[in-house]
């Protein structure tokens, strides 16, 4: 056989699946991705913000904004913790449904009807002066119940359709969001005939839990924040236990993994779907109560502000582990706060910071690829010998 001089081409690179990577490495990759994302943000900032190009030294100020967003002053710290808590509550609410592979994209709506129900109870049952001002402490219990029921109902409807006719839950729950938003618009038009479309904002909340006020340095506002934070932490731990250690949690995991297996071992799938969605909706309703009942007793179509969707990402990033969600919701909130700081500090439109959040998330989510797959590169082209 004669020797040929052709250089044989292997593919430049090819992809293989990897299995069981060391957890330390996995986290290292994620942290690295986050850092890279932040650096990329810096580059984008240079490209787009004029002040930075004029004075490159201000780049430190740029990054400092992120830190400031969290720790500038007491108010910032409390607000940060509160925002993390609300986002965490919604993410945790989604968890049981997602574990069951029921893609609930309706947290926004489920939370919003929770807010609406809480505010509605206050509006109809409260003292006349309270109608548009503050939550009456005596009404807190009915408000909570109303919010839980409303959230549960909003989740129950798609769950029933899924269980009965196997409708697509992703679209159904998504559409329910718009129904909720329009329902809020409708109620506002009824309640606030002046057309301002918002029940007036209240600045002077009563102390709901006096004992907590002491902990929170006697500041009324912070005592409400603390209530929210502690409630959500408790719920997070409870849901973690529910999923990991209870029979219900076991069932919903099996249903999520394989319907046929669930039927095979005699799990009533329809019952599990409905039960789990009721729980998921109820927790969204709880988030709604925290927003509408504890925080500011007001409702408008932006009350939830897209956190129902952000929550999906938070839950996904944490691979549906409620405890890890504490971290992921903190990261998302950290980015959000930093971004709004930047927008003030550099006097730029609010859209640019959103771009930056997107860039960081792109890196973080993209890094999952390197955790699951391995890239093999061509070592070197070989001479062919025959």
């Amino acid at each position: 056989m004669e020797a040929t001089k052709d250089r044989v081409k292997e593919p430049l690179m090819w992809i293989t699946k990897r299995d069981g990577m060391n957890p330390v490495f996995i986290w290292l990759i994620r942290v690295l991705a986050f850092v890279c994302g932040m650096l990329a943000c810096g580059l984008i900032a240079f490209a787009l913000i004029e002040q930075l190009r004029d004075e490159p030294s201000r780049i430190t100020e740029f990054y400092k904004c992120f830190i400031d967003g969290v720790v500038k002053n007491d108010d910032m710290k409390w607000t940060f913790a509160k925002d993390v808590a609300i986002l965490l509550c919604i993410s945790v609410a989604l968890t049981p449904a997602f574990r069951m592979r029921f893609w609930n994209t309706g947290a926004e709506g489920q939370t919003l009807v929770g807010v609406l129900a809480a505010v509605g109870v206050n509006f109809y049952l409260g003292e006349p002066y309270a109608r548009s001002h503050v939550a009456d402490a005596r009404l807190l219990a009915p408000m909570l119940v109303a919010a839980l029921l409303a959230g549960a109902l909003w989740a129950l409807i798609p769950a029933l359709f899924k269980a009965k006719w196997n409708t697509n839950e992703t679209l159904f729950t998504l559409m329910m969001n718009y129904v909720a938003i329009h329902l809020v618009s409708f109620c506002l038009a009824e309640w606030v005939p002046n057309g301002s479309n918002t029940i007036s904002i209240n600045d002077d909340m009563p102390t709901l839990f006096n004992g907590l006020a002491a902990v929170a340095k006697k500041n009324h506002k912070y005592s409400n924040y603390l209530t929210i934070i502690l409630t959500v932490l408790a719920v997070t731990v409870l849901i973690y236990i529910y999923i990991k250690y209870t029979k219900h949690g076991y069932e919903l995991n099996v249903v999520g993994e394989s319907l046929r297996t669930a039927q095979y071992v005699g799990i009533k799938v329809k019952k599990v779907i409905i039960r789990t969605m009721l729980l998921s909706g109820m927790l969204c309703g709880l988030a709604g109560f925290l927003i509408g009942g504890v925080l500011d007793c007001t409702v408008n179509t932006e009350s939830v502000g897209g956190q129902g969707f952000t929550g999906i990402m938070v839950a996904w990033l944490a691979s549906f582990n409620p405890l890890i969600m504490i971290l992921t919701s903190a990261i998302i909130t950290f980015l959000n706060h930093g971004a709004s700081q930047i927008s003030t500090a550099f006097d730029i439109s609010g859209a640019l910071p959103n771009v930056m959040i997107g860039v960081v998330l792109f890196f973080v989510i993209g890094s999952e690829f390197f955790i699951n797959y391995k890239l093999n590169f061509r070592k070197h082209a070989r001479e062919v010998r025959a």
Binding site: W14, Y245, K247, T261, Y264
Partner: protein
């Protein structure tokens, strides 16, 4: 020595860290020969050929075609090198005609007139002796016709090297014969053919040479004319295997499950089971033979309560009392409910009313048989869900065909899979993981399950180990009826024998074992009776000790108006 058509040198392919599918495999294919690649399921035959066909890329090693090194990165590259592979699962577009499928994906530059294609296809068919109508749609075709289209597809593209992956698995004996004739004709025409198979008789019949693979390695090449089935078996399994499967004598065989006149029509409206009646006896193994897809799966699922037959009855005989299951469990709430329906009576015949009685006294009445369930109120298992069947006290275990999709949950570990059946046990809302964990550890030891840890997702285990987990769990509940569908499919010889022995042990404890199998030799060696199902009908039941293959084959394939067809 002439240049070989295809030469593989030291090919290695890994999947993940642990699985080495091919290890340093070298292989030569000459012009105009039929080379068989023989090996058990999962020994890496298909993986190796997929690398030649451009589906996978080797981690190491080189491929030469006609003496020149070739890099095959995609199926298109493979075609350009004149290599065509006919996969086990056909890749055809259902709503296209044969000819349309043949030209699909051929280079856009040379657009072919469909008329020319039709005549080209007919030409190729005539040359090698295929019978095919180029204008026929795929969905109208039988399995064998579809295979013909696949073969013509690669011939049309000018393939000189044809690789056929288990081509006979879906064919009838006659079709196999015809296929082999065609393969011989193609080889005589100068084509080089590789046929992947694990069936010895086919190797002997069609091939010129045989390459035997074992555990991802090439263990030897022999000329077919100079070898024997025995030698090939030895090469395949690495040592002389005793063909004797342990078969104990039936233990006190008495009817355990009686199935009568079962009819099942699936949601698509296809009649799957037609008037199925049979009896499975305790302490006996009932084999079920039949061409794949004849209704075996549905039959077992009906019994297990997973799907509902339209007509018929399924009765379970309580082994303790040797009479049909009427009512012999202890759930007080159910006793009350049935009593309210007037289904209990005192020995003297008066109706029982349990109103106002405490749990304790009701339990005492049932235990001491002071109240009796009406004799004629047999509890049929039909229309019962798996859970209700269990609540009736019927200990029924089922090893389904689809292990990870039905029997187990792939993403969780052995311990958590152990409690799939039993997680409801115990009061309270929390699951108790200590017992399942212990059971898991016992099984790992007893059955030699290879796993990095008890928490490793079972999906990551090999097929044999997955099956051991499943069978182990189903047996651990000491069932009275054990149904197993293709329990050794895809398993190596050692694991298969382990499973056979486990089933036989169960039989010895008095369990009624129902074994759905595909290998007639195994059925004849392991079971006590063999029942044959053919297109959803029971065509006969024979004594496994005296049965012969011809009879079984005849029962499996004889037509009764409607055709037996394993296709989808």
């Amino acid at each position: 020595m002439p240049t070989p058509a295809l030469e593989l040198k030291n090919i290695t392919k890994r999947f993940g860290h642990k699985v080495v599918a091919n290890k340093n495999v070298s292989l030569t294919l000459n012009h105009g020969e039929v080379l068989a690649i023989l090996g058990e399921n999962g020994c890496g035959k298909t993986t190796l050929m997929n690398m030649v066909a451009g589906i996978y890329y080797p981690d190491d090693g080189r491929i030469f075609i006609n003496g020149h090194e070739a890099v095959i990165r995609s199926p298109r590259d493979a075609f350009e090198h004149g290599i065509g592979m006919i996969h086990q699962h056909f890749k055809l577009v259902d709503i296209f005609t044969a000819a349309e499928n043949v030209v699909l994906g051929v280079h856009a530059g040379k657009k072919d007139n469909l008329k020319d294609v039709n005549s080209r296809v007919s030409e190729i068919a005539a040359k090698y002796g295929f019978s095919i109508d180029p204008k026929k749609k795929i969905y109208d075709m039988s399995v064998s016709e579809k295979q013909t289209v696949e073969i013509i597809k690669v011939l049309y593209r000018g393939a000189d090297i044809l690789i056929l992956d288990e081509p006979t698995a879906v064919l009838t004996l006659q079709e196999i014969k015809r296929l082999f004739e065609i393969l011989r004709r193609m080889a005589a025409d100068g084509k080089s053919i590789i046929i992947i198979t694990h069936k010895l008789n086919e190797v002997m019949e069609v091939s010129d040479r045989v390459t035997v693979m074992r555990k991802g390695e090439n263990v030897g090449v022999v000329n077919t004319a100079e070898t024997s089935e025995a030698e090939l078996t030895n090469m395949m399994v690495g040592r002389q295997i005793s063909l004797n499967i342990k078969r104990s004598e039936p233990v006190d065989p008495k009817p355990r499950i009686i199935v009568e006149h079962l009819d099942y029509t699936n949601p698509e409206g296809v009649k799957i089971l037609k008037d199925v009646s049979f009896t499975a006896r305790g302490g006996e193994m009932l084999g079920i033979a039949g061409i794949a897809g004849s209704g075996q799966r549905e039959m077992l699922e009906c019994i297990a309560g997973l799907i509902r037959p339209q007509t018929g009855t399924i009765t379970f005989i309580n082994p303790k009392e040797n009479k049909p299951v009427t009512f012999f469990h202890k759930k007080i709430s159910q006793v009350r409910r049935l009593a309210a329906q007037g289904k209990f009576h005192y020995p003297d015949g008066t109706r029982v009313s349990l109103k106002g009685m405490s749990r304790k006294s009701v339990r005492k009445l049932v235990r001491d048989e002071q109240i009796l369930f009406d004799e004629n109120e047999i509890m049929p298992l039909r229309d019962k869900t798996p859970l209700e069947i269990r609540e009736l006290g019927v200990k029924l275990s089922f090893v389904p065909e689809d292990r990870l999709g039905m029997g187990l949950v792939g993403s969780i570990g052995i311990a958590d899979n152990m409690m799939l059946r039993s997680y409801r046990k115990g009061r309270g809302v929390f699951v108790n993981r200590s017992k399942p964990k212990k059971l898991g550890q016992t099984l790992i030891k007893k059955l030699g399950i290879i796993t990095p840890s008890i928490r490793t997702p079972v999906r990551r285990l090999s097929g044999g180990n997955v099956q051991k987990v499943l069978v182990g769990r189903e047996i651990s509940s000491s069932p009275k009826v054990l149904m197993a569908a293709y329990p050794v499919r895809g398993l190596d010889i050692n694991s298969s024998y382990l499973i056979y022995n486990l089933l036989d042990e169960q039989k010895c404890t008095g369990t009624a074992v129902i074994f759905v199998g595909e290998d007639l030799d195994v059925l004849m060696g392991l079971c006590d009776r063999i029942m044959v199902i053919n297109s959803g009908r029971i065509t006969g039941t024979v004594d496994a000790r005296t049965a012969d293959k011809e009879t079984l084959g005849y029962l499996m394939t004889k037509t009764q108006g409607d055709k037996a067809d394993g296709s989808n």
